[in-house]
Amino acid sequence: MDQLIYATEVLLNGLMTGVMYALVALGFVLIFKASGVFNYAQGVLALFAALTLVGIQQGQIPFAHMINAMFGTHLETFGWTVPSLVAILLTAMVMVVLAFLIEKLVLQHLVGQEPIILFMATIGLAYFLEGLGDVMWGADIKTLDVGLPQGISETIEGVTADWFGYGFFIDRLDLWATAIAAALVAALVAFAQYTKQGRAMRAVADDHQAALSVGISLRFIWVMVWSIAGFVALVAGIMWGTKSGVQFSLSLIALKALPVLMLGGFTSIPGAIVGGLIIGVGEKLFEFLIGPMIGGATENWFAYVLALIFLVFRPQGLFGERIIERV
């Protein structure tokens, strides 16, 4: 009975973690759906967004280190701090500018190339942004605080303690992340269903050629999609950055999103969410119940093996579009 309660607690936490994974995966899916690009840089985008957010918030001078090294100056900060909300808005604007530049400088020149080439281009982009983020804002660890609460939720603990005699641990940050992710997905769905631009986006996702022929600007759609993905990356960056501080490792969360994508299918937003939940719960439960027997630290591979098993039965992922092959 005790084991069951513990397992339930792990399960709930797994669900919450799954939401965090889904948040990263969402960025991948958006870009893949609209442009067929598997965006390796999504993780670095999250890092870059979080670095920029902290930088703006704390009034850091961009490129200060480089300027100092070149001209022997001692610049560091502007000496002001920016309120979180304003900083988030400014960062979102930076991400839009970034999306525009990416389209202008990279994607535009690669229209009609094979997927693997576009994938490779995003790898180049990932390298570039990683270096740029460091040069702009410095490689030291930064504390990100936008006012999200952290720590155990006492309400839930109290309620569950009354019910089961054991208070469940749920992180308040995870609760917030879940709420924000839900709002984000709802907004995205509403955007895609009810606005002109959203419909154009879906049209492009459906068929580039046909979309072009009815007068939809592919370039505009791409900039828009990358901006949205940049914004999703910002949200993911805030969530993960609040937890662990903003630093290089933030870009590695992309690896957590890959099994989610595989499981859910590259082209499906509900897939990303359900996939995230399954992976989150699966890996947490496995580590918790089986892990201690085989030495632990199983989370990294278990997610992939789980996804692999699913794929053997459904090669296009749970919600992916059915792959129909013709000669």
Binding site: L110, I123, Y127, L258, F266, L311
Partner: protein, 358 residues
Amino acid sequence: MIYREAGDFKTGYREDGQTFPIKLDRWAYYGVLAVAFGIIPFVINDYWASAVLVPFLIYAIAAMGLNILTGYAGQVSLGTGGFMAVGAYAVYKLMTAFPDVNIVIHILLAGFVTAFVGMLFGLPSLRIKGFYLAVATLAAQFFLVWLFNKVPWFYNYSASGQITAPERTFLGEAVTGPASSAPAKYLICLGFAFVLAWLARNLTRGMLGRKWMAIRDMDIAAEIIGVNPLGAKLSAFAISSFFIGVAGALLFAVYLGAAEVGEAFGINKSFLVLFMIIIGGLGSIFGSFAGAAFLVLLPVLLKNLLVGSLGWPTDLAAHLELMIVGALIVFFLIVEPHGLARLWALAKDKLRLWPFPH
């Protein structure tokens, strides 16, 4: 003017079908071999061997292996790091268990072990395709790394799980361990790279290679014309893993001398080798070498240029290095999406007509 095929007559099918049908190419090839085997071993020092040439040759072998799988057979794999770890740990176990057997035999055996493991993880490829397969091979990557980290038998129960290569000799010269000289390390890697490149080149233009390419271009169509997908895909996985296993064994035993699985054979290694073949050119042996050269040499070059010559702080240089590598990758893709190998081929085509283009 100089580089052309006019006047280079062939009188038999053998001659016509040789790897380098143009005389100048052939000479250049022999020239490169002569320099590589005849001159470099006498002038090489520790820095050139350890920082530049040995890693270049080892990565070229790994890149050839992955190119067979991805470039020729069309199966994208991100398990390279894991398979290299299999090669490394296999050679370590063999070296310590049978100290009297020649190291070259151990390295080859490590390749065979890896081939077997690769085939095992290649099985899902019969059902899963494209990017889905790429991510599925990550399961191999993470699982293998975890396994080598967790099971003490693999690292002979040492306290920290690190493996260290003991000294082994080949033809009386130490090739592993700290006492191995720069020329010895270089020559053994060169020997493997040369033989394996020759093997890869001839495999890929034979029946097996054509089967792989048929599968790559469209597997259903290939099946209809009589290519057995099971055989073709698994042979690609096996042979590719053999190359990668040998590369992993050399990386550990000759180049690094000691390794820790998560650090030396992590996911970054898989990506690095994949980048090499995409930058070098998919489906090209030359491309494997070019890509390996690009990604091994460029960082060293940039570092020495920025830190050594310009005297910039190392951190700034390292960050700029990342930016430059990234920008160059994008630049190359825009200029020539099919990699350095295609760029090279285009240059040769231009040279044929030079200086009188149409």
